[in-house]
Amino acid sequence: MTRKHRLLLFLIGAIGAGFVYCAGAGNMPPWTQYRGPYGDVIAGLAVFQRHATDTVNAITYDYRGFDTLGEEFMLFSAVTGVMLLLRPEKDEKDASAKEPRNPASFRDRAALSETVQVFTTAVFGLWVLFGIYIGTHGQLTPGGGFQGGVIIAAAPMLLYIAENTDAFRRIVSHPFVELLEGFGAAAYALIGLAALAVGVPFLTNILPLGTTGNVFSSGTIALISACVGIEVTAAFTLVIFEYLREILSREKNQED
């Protein structure tokens, strides 16, 4: 099958599918009018039942907590897959060790302005702090573990572009990161199991709910959100390190 045939086949299918879809969508209720009862029920109840002001996070980490557990393990297994696929193979490791330096393959290292260096180092701390803030206030305002985790995990890239490669390598390749990834995933499941130990169904909110609007409120929602944050931070840090591993070792060779 050549490209032309493939595109032609796609065009026929797309026109057909688009026509059927549009005919069906024309019978939907207009999009500015929401009709389902469930959203209204939960929006009215969540604040009183769970003492969390952010209903979306209350649903994600409590009402639909089991789905999020599955999603968490999906992230875990995806990162495991990335690490398995991108791990250095044995012969490759030897080859890169023997390989002589070859500066031509890298573009000449462009000079880095001092402003960038100072700014990125200054912003690094601010960035991590902001990630922690977003991650721990998920039950009150928009935010939550996932968003905070991604922000924290992207922070070491600032050190990398500031040519502070040693610090970057020390943070990213620390064995603690892998431990944290496993810990985050396991802690979520353990919180669920703790409910079983007390004698109530899996992932029931067993902790005291606290005052609405307080940071230490909403029981297990805040705790699960923090666990997800730890897991996501570690997972994305690992992914970044796996992608950059070769380039890092090569840069090190050139420096020596």
Binding site: Q147, V150, I240, Y243
Partner: protein
């Protein structure tokens, strides 16, 4: 508000087509960053700030970053292979 929202939806539709038509991967990657920002704004306009925040972190930062690292690694590998061939 509906005017801004509808306009954003149209802009999203147009840019989706343009990004898909772009052949160079680096160019496409930067277009994807723009697309993610548009989505973040659209979520906010349509009263979904939680999703907007995760779209800001994922669509505008994490996805382009991961794709960029993958492209970098592939280009790097090609450069190494070329250098190896030249030597032998």
């Amino acid at each position: 508000m509906m005017i801004l929202g509808t306009g954003l939806l149209t802009l999203i539709a147009v840019s989706a087509f343009i990004i898909v038509r772009t052949d160079d991967v680096t160019n496409q990657l930067l277009g994807l960053g723009f697309y993610g920002l548009l989505f973040a704004l659209m979520f906010f306009v349509f009263q979904a700030p939680d999703v907007a925040l995760s779209q800001i972190t994922v669509g505008a930062i994490a996805l382009p970053l991961m794709i960029m690292l993958a492209i970098t690694r592939m280009k790097h590998r090609e450069a190494v292979n070329r250098a190896g061939k030249k030597r032998s």
